[in-house]
Assembly symmetry: D2
Homo-oligomer: 304 residues x 4
């Protein structure tokens, strides 16, 4: 399959759509991004990748980083990871506090804010230098040392992320955080402020398409079985209360971020990352969703 | 792969588990089933199937029939099917009324009771003889004329199905049922009271593994794209508030029923049905879940 | 205090308000009422009453009848009345099903639909001829045999009261109705379809201002202590999710109905009934609320 | 009426009850209080007061202070006070975050934590030296300069009050706090940490029984109309999700605190404060509720 040709064609189609939505406004630093940016990069497991548009420009990956958090904890703690966070779709918006109150501070899954905050707390207990160690881990996945936190975004979130501060304190009130709320949020805000390009992002997710092994280095990060389980969580929980929509229309495991990025993988085939800052009402990239829908529909290639 | 050997092995393992849960008690007729029944049948697309235990004994398929309802409506109405019911996981129990009230009588998806009731209403508008026509449709999918409604189960549900009556009336109060509540429920109670064996059930689901075509008759029921979409809905919504659990541990699109049946499919490979009446707290067959988890874990064969 | 003068003055003020809201549309028979009707009647315990406007025209008292239901059951069963229904404000709309689901079918209080339906079930067990006996009871309270059910309204509600049918079935599913749902609802729809004028209504509520004794006949219906408790329930629960508003602005125990009636009492002083069919968003008479607010504000006479 | 005799009698009765519940454990400093403390003080408007037990021992008034907050803001801002907080019963526990999320950060009423936090924010905008000015206000109400914040309790709450921190941040995320969260909470934690004895507390609430005027100094704090409205809020919202219970069994406007104190007033008659640290499941003093129930039941003196 000539992926470059396909990407070029569907990018054209998506670009003719009147773009709806707005960029994330609740993080001031994100609101200043040029909303016309658009990039996509597809990396097959065993071939060269190809990209269209602003595919090598870095952007804030935001919630996409929750997948890295999850596998870092899963890799170290295994099954035990699941005592303090579940793996069920929440059926609620990404930042909802309602379920925490009715379910004793146990987040539904690690891909909503509450869940990722609990995973940050787990990692604070496990890693000697949490921020550095975690960044090193992401660099390893991406086989790329030029990946960093954007401290401006960190500061912006720390100053305005009241909902996340509320979530962390509510979880703490149920005893489901061991560390200080400020320390947990410091890691969380850093993790969300990682910057990567579509090219880097697709490469860093390739292990999920490859049974848990980073193709370039041949290093195994997760067993095949656990990789499949993480893919399943991405499928059912990766898009908040639009997970069904994404499964229905795209049909690939993936994860979105309010920076406008979406990454998805096709097991045994490829990883793809797309970036377009305008978000739909559910907080997912409007054009990014459309592009991925066109990709799998036109190539009849969803996992289902 | 020698599926018969695998089924035999994992059945042994599952049978040594101390069985937990109880059979569905809220439908009196179901409560009288022998809880020690156990059957499993796997039907590959292009090979002979194989079964273990009570695989050719009929049982009440209950909610599994919601998938048949869905594709009957989807086949006729196409996209329009989705104006009155969504395709998002509910994150709530199968019989919850809460979301209906906050979401104006539009059920989250067609695989929870509320959604299937709306689909019944749609079919009442589309089919000249709804009950007969629908049964005929299921017989076609199963390539088997010996499939019937169990009228005793119908009567049992009609007499005690207060939650479903409540759901249907609440939907009606929001104007999302065109027909009389009693007529809608009559169809719904019939559909849930279809009886099939594991062997029949796996065969009737084979089209989902085969891109929308019934292998034996070569009849196309759904386009490839729509088949994938229905599979996606099964994956994200097929197990109520345990959809994440099933995706995580089994990793196949599927559907369960309170009769103790579960059916699942592996695209391009097979359909499998398992039956064991004791249900876990979420209303899914305890041993059925375990068997399917063992199957995909030991063969590393989930779709993810 | 010259109540007639006060009523005349504040009626004028209220009539100059641009009337907002609409009459209850979900009961077709109620939607046909002339929305410009307006009546008010105040009956002191020991003096002649006085009225303004359409005070002797009968209208459908609807939910106001829930208070009669409550005291009929309380009179017979005493404390035991409170095992199947509570006395807490619901904080939710009058017809909400949400709390029933999270609180196992036990309604929050007897003045929301769910609670009154449970009280109907209790009365079915207690009264030999429930509908006749209950009507007789209301006639006794009003010292008036010309009080009747409006069978057209009964038929209208029975045909379109889907939310109430849903509520009753949901309660039944939790085992909190002993009788058949249809029988319970038949009594409930009758009770709500009682017709009374403002004059009749104020007279029938005078016992609540008089420590449980009907002044005209000197018959004790409830002990002083129980009368105070019923008044307390009216205060905290009599106006659905506008109970706080009514307590804050009016400051009298009372009860509203979607027919546009409101009745309120001032302990040891009077009962007052007002009728104006247009309802605010919470389902309470717009002008009725305004008139009562003016009455107690201008006379500084709330119970607080 | 010989109040001293009555108090003595009902205290004896209450003291024979096997005390249930536990003292507030979520504020470590409160958990160390001797749970056997018991005091009650009743202050008529125009007569000497009388007390039984530990009536002159200071305790942490906690949420009772929310009433002082409310009237301080109401006194200055009048009607405008009600644009950022409502006056409806919440129907939920005192520290619930659920309604904030579904109602855009507008708390239901000023007597739940969320509402009092918003009132603190309002006062920060209105008062030059918020903490000193507020304390001065409470001293004026109590006609007593020996009233102070307990800084140990402040520190204890600041260190462990995660739920309140969550609430304040959630409100901030909806834009319903003007000031910094830390500043708002600093005032809130101080206000809750005021210490008063039953004697002091009953005196400071006497204005609510006296139409808004402090009897001893003859200073008007609120108009009669506003006083009645505050009393109405206490009646419908003063006991969280037990407001109905208190109205039903006691029938007086009042307010409780997790320090074990309850204060209630009878308009035109008296104010009464009771203190007993063990709390029932709803967070209200177990014996305090019982004593007040006995008081109004035996003297048939509720406002209803």
């Amino acid at each position: 399959m000539n992926y470059h040709q396909i990407l070029t064609d569907i990018t054209k189609k998506v670009q003719t759509l009147s773009d709806r939505g707005t960029s994330a406004s609740y993080i001031p630093e994100l609101a200043s991004i040029d909303v016309n940016k658009f990039g996509v990069y597809l990396k097959p497991i065993d071939k060269k990748g190809c990209g269209v548009g602003d595919f090598d420009e870095k952007f804030s990956i935001q919630s996409i980083a929750k997948v890295f958090l999850l596998i870092k904890a899963y890799k170290i703690k295994g099954k035990e990871s699941w005592t303090r966070v579940g793996y069920e779709p929440s059926g609620d918006p990404f930042n909802s506090l309602v379920q925490l109150e009715t379910e004793n501070g146990i987040p539904r899954n690690p891909l909503i804010n509450a869940g990722a905050i609990v995973v940050c707390d787990i990692l604070l207990d496990l890693l000697p230098n949490p921020k550095q160690d975690f960044l090193q881990f992401v660099r390893k996945l991406a086989v790329n040392d030029a990946i960093n936190y954007n401290e401006k975004i960190v500061a912006s979130e720390a100053a305005t992320g009241f909902t996340n501060i509320a979530i962390a304190n509510l979880i703490k009130s149920y005893g489901n955080l061991n560390n200080k709320v400020d320390d947990v949020l410091d890691l969380y805000f850093h993790v969300c402020a990682i910057e990567m390009s579509c090219q880097e992002l697709s490469k860093s997710f390739l292990l999920f398409a490859n049974g848990g092994i980073i193709p370039e280095t041949n290093e195994r990060i997760l067993s095949l079985s656990r990789t499949k389980r993480v893919n399943a969580i991405m499928q059912t929980c990766g898009f908040y209360d639009e997970a069904g929509e994404f499964a229905f229309k795209v049909g690939l495991p993936g994860k979105s971020g309010v920076g406008g990025g979406i990454v998805a993988i096709h097991p045994e085939k490829y990883a793809i990352a797309v970036w377009s800052p305008k978000l739909n009402k559910k907080g997912n990239s409007y054009k990014g969703m459309k592009l991925l829908e066109l990709l799998t529909t036109e190539t009849d290639s969803s996992i289902f």
